[in-house]
């Protein structure tokens, strides 16, 4: 269970989160959506414990996130960042192997052999041919796949995704989100993803949280939340909401100003 109770966060004098409360049952895929500057990424940083709330509390499995040690948190919480991995001289296999760090003792060894785990993650994400290449030789999309492989090797139970598809083309966006959802379903993991693309969020997430101006504006299934009225209120634009012919998930069509309102 993930509980956020009246979380408040100020950054550089401006109020980024203004009393956000929600709780999420484990084992689902949750999306956080909202306009720029709504506090989505900040909320994710509070959940991962790298930042602490100015007021209120973030409670993970009955304990305040602040009471966990960094390494204990990393044993079951992993984060996939928007900007991906930097261009370093480490090879793909080395970086993926770094995902085992929270499970290792200070000498760098662990009880079980993680070799199979690393191979499996490399194979799942189609990184086998790239395994011995340096990160500096890979494209942005390939590095993001390496980052996901590293997250998989970490064997988390809660995965936080911070706009992981921002710098990817649509093919790679789907590939990444498919990999995450398959994994989530197979292992009954909890995924909390900040997503920019409402249509992807609607198709991949069980529930959506809508954040605007540091407050929680709406919460529910994609069909509940992605209505023309809510989107208009939060984003200040009047879209058309249709149903996806395959999944029946709500899909948002944008309507530029000046276009005819009804044909």
């Amino acid at each position: 269970m993930i509980d956020v109770r009246n979380a408040v966060k100020q950054i550089g004098g401006s109020l980024v989160l203004d009393g956000v409360s929600f709780s999420l049952a484990e084992g689902g895929m949750y999306g956080i959506i909202g306009p720029n500057g709504a506090g989505k990424s900040t909320l994710l940083s509070l959940l991962s414990g790298v930042e602490t709330a100015g007021a209120g509390a973030v409670v993970l499995r009955g304990k305040s996130v602040r009471s966990y040690k960094r390494k204990d948190l990393a044993r079951w919480i992993a984060v996939l960042q928007q900007e991906g991995l930097p261009m370093t001289a480490f090879t793909v296999r080395e970086v993926v192997g770094m995902g085992r760090f929270p499970h290792q003792n200070w000498l760098g060894s662990e009880e079980k052999d993680a070799g199979g785990l690393i191979e499996h993650a490399l194979a799942t994400l189609g990184l086998m041919e790239l395994a011995e290449r340096r990160l500096s030789e890979l494209s942005g999309g390939e590095r993001q796949r390496v980052a996901l492989a590293k997250v998989m090797v970490q064997e988390p139970e809660l995965i936080l995704l911070d706009e992981p598809t921002t710098y990817l083309d649509i093919g790679h966006q789907l590939q990444l989100l498919d990999a995450v959802r398959d994994w989530q379903k197979r292992k009954q993991l909890t995924v909390v993803a900040v997503l920019h693309d409402l249509n992807l969020a609607a198709q991949y997430c069980d529930r959506l949280l809508v954040l605007a101006r540091g407050k929680l504006e709406a919460e529910g299934t994609p069909a509940d939340v992605l209505t023309e009225e809510t989107i208009c209120r939060v984003y200040g634009t009047h879209p058309i909401v249709l149903r996806h012919p395959d999944s029946n998930a709500p899909q948002v069509l944008l309507r530029p100003r000046g276009a005819p309102a009804n044909l």
């Binding site: 991962s48 790298v50 990393a74 480490f90 760090f101 760098g108």
Partner: protein, 332 residues
């Protein structure tokens, strides 16, 4: 390691006194406890030159080099900055100022041989705390601000040292010579001063090798993987500062070792700090040892300041590596 021992063997055999190699080694072998009883065919002076002067100097060179190489690897590791080294952070200048002050007022031996090392160490530590304090914003140390703070403090303190040099007409050479770095007139007491720090510093920094690897991916990434980033940075910076201050207090300012050595190691064995840290210590020792051997023999009997020599060798070498690396990246 083999290279280190080999370097030491060659280095000890060369010197301005012009002893034959066989004599040098006979003296050294005689020092081994089970050989002490045998008859000697050299004077006490010869023995003193080899054991008190040359052997101790070689050990200090190796230890100082190891400390500087380690400190450089530590600084570069946690600051993720190729420009970070004991000198860019102002630690060396901080240590210099304490020593220069003592030399200016003729207090070098006020409390015995340890006076200069101790004061240099204290001012070095004070400097790094000042740099940390300047760089600390909202409880976090940002990498850019830290290096910038180091440069500012270094410029300020460097001006003070220059001021003290200009103030003292009579002892000008001594301060100047110290800021240029030298291993001459060092003895076994200096060895015992540096040895424990090098012996503890190596495993201490090596213990943080894997966290430093994760830091290469970025501070956030490292934190998400379970690294206590602020604590790691603080501890490694403290140990590296300590190693620098000890090295500087014994040998004066020897530049470019902490900068060049870890870079060179990284180019050879790759970015993994589990290899870079111990190899930087070993190679740092070799580097300073050879530089010092060159310094005391090249223009013998005159000595070239060691810091001048390491900079003369180090800077062009560094430029060459940088160029080659760029070219290599383009081809790859």
């Amino acid at each position: 390691m083999l290279l280190l021992i080999l370097s030491a063997v060659v280095s000890i055999s060369i010197g301005s006194a012009g002893y034959p190699i066989s004599k040098v080694w006979a003296i050294i072998i005689h020092q081994l406890p089970w050989n002490r009883g045998e008859a000697v065919e050299w004077s006490a002076l010869d023995e003193a030159v080899v054991i008190q002067v040359r052997l101790s100097r070689i050990l200090i060179g190796v230890l100082v080099g190891a400390c500087l190489g380690l400190a450089g690897a530590g600084f570069q590791g946690v600051l993720r900055n190729p420009l970070a080294d004991p000198y860019t952070l102002g630690v060396a200048s901080g240590s210099s100022i304490g020593a220069a002050f003592l030399i200016l007022f003729g207090l070098q031996t006020a409390v015995g041989i340890w006076t200069v090392p101790f004061v240099a160490f204290v001012t070095g530590m004070a400097t790094i705390f000042a740099v940390f304090w300047l760089a600390r914003q909202q409880g976090q140390m940002r990498i850019e601000t830290l290096v910038l703070a180091g440069v500012i403090v270094q410029a300020f303190l460097g001006a003070f040292v220059s001021f003290m040099i200009s103030m003292s007409d009579t002892v000008v050479n001594e301060i100047l010579y110290w800021t240029m770095g030298s291993l001459s007139k060092r003895n076994w007491e200096h060895v015992t001063l540096v040895l424990p720090f090098a012996a503890v510093g190596l495993p201490a920094i090596a213990a943080f090798a894997q966290p430093m690897n994760l830091l290469v991916l970025g501070e956030r990434q490292a934190a998400h993987l379970g690294v206590n980033v602020e604590r790691t940075k603080l501890i490694v910076l403290m140990i590296s500062t300590l190693l620098t201050a000890v090295a500087v207090s014994v040998s004066g300012v020897i530049g470019f070792v902490g900068l060049v050595v870890p870079h060179l190691i990284r180019l050879i064995v790759g970015p993994d700090y589990r290899l870079v840290v111990p190899l930087s210590a070993i190679f740092g020792g070799i580097y300073v040892l050879w530089a010092d051997t060159l310094a005391r023999t090249a223009l013998s009997p005159k000595e070239i300041p060691l810091g001048v020599l390491t900079a003369l060798i180090g800077a062009p070498f560094f430029a060459y590596l940088l160029k080659r690396r760029k070219a290599g990246l383009k081809e790859g």
